[in-house]
């Protein structure tokens, strides 16, 4: 149990050695920037979420919690939350499972491992907007590669075309999200896999465990802390999705890809309801924060030694 007295004693001890003021000076620029560009906007948006303001005029009206109340009642916001949860679940589950499989295959001593790693990692370092534009070309109705490829197999592409199709649009967006994220997950998993002692596998093989058994009973449990880390990062990242959707579908068709990030952007920068947009930002923050805490608690804090 750390008490105020402990802190004070430690402070004084550190300060006597002269470490503290030097540390504070060294930290000052970063702290100032962090305060200016993170902490201040955070609280300012909290203040704005209690206001009605169009962003231009000098007139701001205090409206209390009514922006939040409107959000809770808004069918559009509820739809957007649903879409965002679906997207997050899709990208997280597919992204983590696929990347583990690929990482295990790559780790099995395949030739040219570095080349594959590079190929899978390329999307991660590609500009998201540029990638989304290219994906839109690929999914273009009629002459896009997806349609051309399907037709060459004798399969009719969906109508309306992918990104205008209420069934397909979100799936395509999830696919792009997974594609973008996969490389990062693989690289982290590979690092983790290489830390698992070979002896375990050898011992298991001697005891008669097959490839699946070794994967199921050695790899999966030992890699669990990394899985937790990747899931948490992926959930946070996916929940805040905006750019891919903005470029590829703009939320359509029929609102099936309308994620909360897009709705927030619209409220803030198309309709200029800055109060509503700020309230939305805080609701999103609360959800992501809670989700992270729950994952942390459910899947054990001790294992995350990363």
């Amino acid at each position: 149990m750390i008490t105020a007295a402990h802190v004070r004693a430690r402070w004084q001890r550190a300060n006597r050695r002269g470490d503290l003021s030097a540390a504070m000076i060294a930290l000052a620029p970063a702290v100032v920037l962090f305060a200016l560009f993170n902490v201040y906007p955070l609280f300012y948006s909290g203040y704005l979420s209690l206001m009605n303001w169009d962003g231009f005029s000098s007139h701001r009206e205090y409206v209390g919690l009514s922006n939040y109340r409107e959000l809770v009642e808004s069918p559009m916001f509820r739809n957007a939350l649903g879409v965002t949860v679906k997207y997050t679940a899709g990208v997280t589950v597919l992204g983590v499972v696929l990347s583990l499989i690929i990482a295990v295959l790559l780790n099995s001593g395949i030739r040219g491992q570095n080349l594959y790693r590079l190929i899978y990692f390329l999307p991660v370092v590609t500009s998201t907007v540029a990638a989304a534009v290219v994906w839109r070309y690929l999914m273009n109705p009629g002459n896009g590669y997806a349609d051309v490829f399907l037709r060459s197999l004798g399969i009719a592409p969906p109508s309306p075309s992918w990104l205008r199709n209420p069934t397909w649009a979100l799936r395509v967006v999830i696919l792009v999200g997974v594609w973008k994220r996969l490389g990062f997950n693989i690289v982290i998993y590979l690092a983790g896999l290489q830390n698992i002692p070979k002896d375990y596998y050898e011992a298991a093989t001697v005891d008669g465990a097959g490839a699946w058994g070794r994967f199921r009973h050695i790899t999966v449990p030992l890699i669990a802390p990394i899985t937790l880390l990747l899931v948490i990062m992926s959930v946070i990242d996916a929940f805040l999705i905006f750019d891919v959707v903005y470029v590829m579908t703009d939320g359509g068709p029929l609102g099936t890809t309308e994620v909360v990030g897009l709705l927030l952007y619209r409220q803030a920068f198309r309709y200029f309801n800055l109060g509503t947009a700020s309230a939305m930002g805080w609701v999103i923050f609360a959800i992501v924060f809670t989700a992270t805490l729950v994952q942390w608690k459910l899947f054990g804090t001790r294992e995350v030694g990363v």
Partner: protein, 421 residues
């Protein structure tokens, strides 16, 4: 000592951050420099080249002023203006979409032009009244129109001929339009007969408004307080779109098929004449937009308005001088001929040289010039952007068959009315 030096260097670094007051008066030091004006607009392609050439010429002819022409994409311009106003570094002048004017004018960030207009003796009666109306709130004028446009019919002649249709006898009624479109569509090749704008947003709304007006309807009531589109005319217009889809004349797709040679016809803006004249890899022509046999001619009007945001009086005057030059009949003549924009001044539209130029170089602009008199204004209300989005979202449901025509329009009416309240 070392630590003191470290501390001092950090203070020096912090002071070097731009924006902190340095106590140095830049203006007095640079008294001989020309007045610098920043001018934001979203004209790109050929229009962008033209405005840059005009600005360059203006700068060359006016050594005491330096206008910097800055391109900002259409989607970014309004948010960027908003952020710039809040941040205190708004451009000195800007040209922006006419639908944003109610919002911009009410923001308090625009400089009223009345005193400049009076002092310069500009004849406002020469500008089309429907265009000025968008800039006038109370008795203040916050901007002047610099370009306008409207929507008429484009025809792909190659596809028409392939379907055995004569592009020289274009459809004139909705009935003919539907008939031609159904005959020209070729779903196996991905060719639609008549391209519609079916993605939610202002694109859908402003296209649909033309059909609504043609059928005799109105979008909002005259006092702009209520939706008026949930009417016989509204239902008829929406049903016409659904019939085009049902007959196979149109299949829901991303906007832009006509430009890719995948649509026989499309209703698009006069600005596309200049663009497709250069880029379309097929033969095309234009015609007046067909309207119901018992309806009326109508089109929608867009365009840009120029306004001043500069705080400094010398800059305001310099910005006004540029606006006066840019909106003058001579420069407008040149601008309209280079860009294909519709004239904003009667003296340009009726100018003999302009008429002769149209006939000789680009007769495909004639339907647009002739129909400008039937152009309606989108309702100048502050909530228009959101209103247009919710309206189009409901129409999209009807187009996807998820709602009946009646239900979609009723739902849109309820949504729009709640925004106007």
């Amino acid at each position: 000592m070392k630590r003191t030096f470290f501390l001092l260097s950090i203070i020096a670094l912090l002071l070097a951050i731009p924006g902190l007051p340095s106590g140095f008066d830049v203006r007095s030091a640079l008294a001989q420099e020309p007045i610098k004006l920043t001018f934001w607009n979203y004209w790109d392609g050929k229009n962008g080249e033209t405005i840059q050439a005009l600005v360059d010429r203006y700068n060359a002819e006016h050594p005491d002023v330096e206008v910097e022409n800055v391109f900002v994409g259409w989607g970014e311009l309004l948010p960027k203006l908003q952020l710039a106003v809040v941040g205190g570094d708004a451009p000195d002048l800007a040209a922006a979409d006419m639908v944003w004017m109610p919002y911009l004018a009410n923001s308090g960030a625009l400089v009223p032009l009345n005193s400049f207009i009076e002092a310069a003796g500009v004849d406002l009666a020469d500008f089309y009244p429907a265009l000025l109306a968008v800039n006038t709130y109370g008795d203040q004028i916050y901007g002047l129109p610099v370009s306008t446009n409207n929507l008429e019919l484009f025809i792909n002649q190659d596809l028409f001929e392939a379907a055995g249709l004569d592009p020289n006898t274009p459809p004139t009624t909705w009935e003919e339009l539907a008939d031609y479109a159904a005959r020209c569509a070729n779903p196996a090749q991905g060719v639609v007969g008549m391209e519609l704008f079916t993605q939610p947003g202002e694109g859908l709304t402003w296209q649909f408004q033309v059909y609504l007006w043609q059928a005799g309807g109105e979008f909002l009531t005259d006092d702009l307080t209520q939706a008026a589109f949930n009417s016989d005319a509204g239902r008829r217009a929406l049903q016409f779109w659904l019939d085009l889809i049902d007959s196979g004349a149109y299949t829901i797709s991303d906007w832009g098929l006509f430009g890719q040679g995948q649509a026989c016809m499309v209703m698009d803006g006069s600005w596309m004449v200049g663009i497709w004249a250069d880029t379309a890899p097929f033969k095309w022509t234009t015609a007046k937009m067909p309207y119901p046999a018992d309806g009326q001619p109508a089109t929608n009007m867009g365009g840009e308005h120029i306004f001043i945001m500069a705080k400094d009086e010398a800059k305001q005057q310099a910005a006004w001088d540029f606006i006066q030059w840019f909106t003058s009949t001579e420069v407008q003549l040149e601008w309209d001929q280079a860009t294909g924009f519709m004239p904003v001044r009667d003296s340009v539209a009726t100018n003999e040289a302009y008429r002769a130029w149209l006939n000789e170089t680009e007769p495909r602009l004639l339907p647009f010039v002739e129909m400008q008199q039937y152009a309606h204004n989108r309702p100048p209300v502050e909530q228009y952007a959101e209103l247009s989005d919710v309206f189009s979202a409901m129409l999209e449901r009807a187009l996807y068959g998820q709602m009946s025509v009646e239900d979609a329009l009723s739902a849109a009416e309820a949504a729009v009315n709640s925004l106007l309240r």
